[in-house]
């Protein structure tokens, strides 16, 4: 790693020029992330200059073990896990199927690929408003389609469980393109000779998939599973656009935001309880950490077994 651009003091120039980027990172991202742990033990509010007192584990105790509110919190936690599990498994499976189909290089398949990827660039606001309109309950397209089968739905305005299910659906719709693209990138690294060899050996389509495609796709499988799991555990912005802070639909990410920055839900307005929200952040962080690490361990062992 010899440095060619001068000696002595000149060797410090790279450090000097690296500083701004590193400084921003520590100031805005890394530092605040770490400080979340500190704030979780305080009664910080969102008011400038208000005293911040150390209150030990009170926030955690209240979050987990105090009456009605903590039951709601545990419900939100359970809902976060359900959301993450359903989104990850469905998005993973559909993403793989769509990638395999699009990757056949049929005519127009590039156009289809572009169409599926489209929502990724539009962002949650447009994604959410688009679907609010598409799910218009009075004579909207989906409502009409359901009516053909004699079904009715209030969609996003319906029962909490139903509204929640629609958010899951839209979340998958919005991010399927990323999963698909990662799989396609993986599929394109598999040498075509392997497929030909398998065919010559008399393997059928399913055997080719299980013996060639699936094992060689391991890196993309790992990336997708990890990204989807971690991403969906932390995702909540579509809830904000589609439902607002509605009882029976909250996930942890939204709960953190709502308790930290005040949020009106029906007649209940929460105040700026930032210490409490920080404690909820740490709970979510631990959830992500435990699930992410376990998954990572498993995927690494599996990769070793398959790819040697």
């Amino acid at each position: 790693m010899s440095y060619h651009f001068g000696r002595g003091w000149a060797k410090l120039i790279p450090y000097l020029l690296l500083l701004p980027g590193l400084f921003f990172y520590f100031l805005i991202s890394f530092g605040p992330s770490m400080a979340t742990a500190f704030y979780s033990f305080t009664d910080a509010t969102g008011i400038r200059g208000a005293p911040v007192r150390w209150i030990g584990f009170d926030n955690y105790r209240e979050f987990l073990f105090m009456g009605r509110a903590s039951l709601d919190n545990l419900d939100a936690l359970k809902r976060t896990l359900i959301f993450s599990f359903v989104v990850t498994t469905v998005q993973f499976t559909l993403g793989l199927i769509v990638a395999l189909i699009v990757n056949q290089k049929l005519r127009f398949s590039n156009i289809f690929r572009t169409i599926y990827f489209m929502p990724v660039i539009l962002g949650v606001v447009i994604q959410g408003l688009m679907w609010s309109l598409f799910l218009f309950p009075i004579g909207g397209p989906v409502a009409k389609l359901l009516a053909l089968f004699g079904l009715r739905s209030e969609f996003l305005g319906g029962q909490p469980a139903e509204a929640f299910a629609w958010v899951i659906f839209i979340q998958i719709w919005a991010n399927l393109g990323v999963t698909m693209m990662i799989f396609i990138a993986g599929l394109q690294t598999i040498p075509s000779e392997l497929y030909e060899a398998a065919r010559i050996d008399g393997a059928n389509t399913w055997q080719v998939f299980t013996n060639v495609t699936w094992p060689l796709l391991t890196p993309s499988v790992n990336t997708n599973l990890l990204l989807n799991t971690i991403g969906s555990l932390q995702a909540w912005q579509l809830f904000l656009v589609l439902l607002g802070y509605r009882n029976g639909t909250q996930v942890l990410g939204y709960l953190i935001y709502a308790t930290g920055f005040g949020q009106t839900s029906g007649s209940v307005t929460t105040s700026f309880r930032q210490g409490y929200a920080a404690a909820a952040s740490i709970v979510l962080f631990l959830l992500v950490l435990v699930i992410g690490m376990t998954l990572q361990q498993y995927l690494q062992r599996r990769e070793k077994r398959i790819l040697g």
Binding site: I13, A37, I126, L129, T218, P219, I256
Partner: protein
Amino acid sequence: MSTPSSDNFPVRRIRWGVIGSYAVMIFFALLYLGPLLMLVNTSLKTMPSFMKDATSLATELHFENFREAWTKANFPRYLLNSVIYTFSATTIYILAAVFVAFPIARGYVKYSGVILTLFVIALFLPPALIPQFQLILNLGLYNNPIGYVMLFLVNPIGIVILVNYIKTIPRELDEAAALDGCGYARFVWTIVMPLIRPAIATVIVLHAIGIWNELIAPTIYLTSKEYYPITRGLIVFQGVYGSNWPTLAAAVLMLTLPMLILFLFLQRYIVSGLTAGSVKG
């Protein structure tokens, strides 16, 4: 293998596969284009015709929805804000990022491996939401465009993408340039930057889309309407015109179309950014 039926069989099976593939692709395409078409159709209707039948095709084209949305929603202002935030934060970020990524990739700074790891683990750290707010508040930058832009000067994934790309550029280049008397800063600025243009484009596009589409930060940090970016503006507009779908649809569409056009040109960079590093694991 020589009987006619088994000779025909593979041909027919492949055909079915193709038809099935198109059926699946078209089904999914409808799922993706449907909401977009509904948006277009609704934006061209009047409110009474929408209430009468939400899905009927617009028979007359009512472009006044667009005019109404454009003027009433204060869109020009919000759009300008979004452009300013996105442009300034992305420019500062990318300049700083190249000078972080280059010495790390080359090992020109001590502990470059450790520094890179610091950026990589950012994905797994606790949400920074609360302390970030306390920081901005105590710096007196709440409801201040400068404070808002500051939030977007960080993007760890971009650093990783740049480092990986810079590693593919031969080291001999550094030596040769140094022998010719080229200084470090000038080398990075005039020689490295042009060489890593594809990676820079990818990172810029990823970062800019993130800022453009951001909804939470403006909701938390900007209270004055004159500072709102377009995302927040749209949500506020929805709050006021939520039941007037033709106007709201026109507003949403006016923001969707430019993004879609841009997307068609930039797709390559977005895809390479999102799939970066995924193949190697």
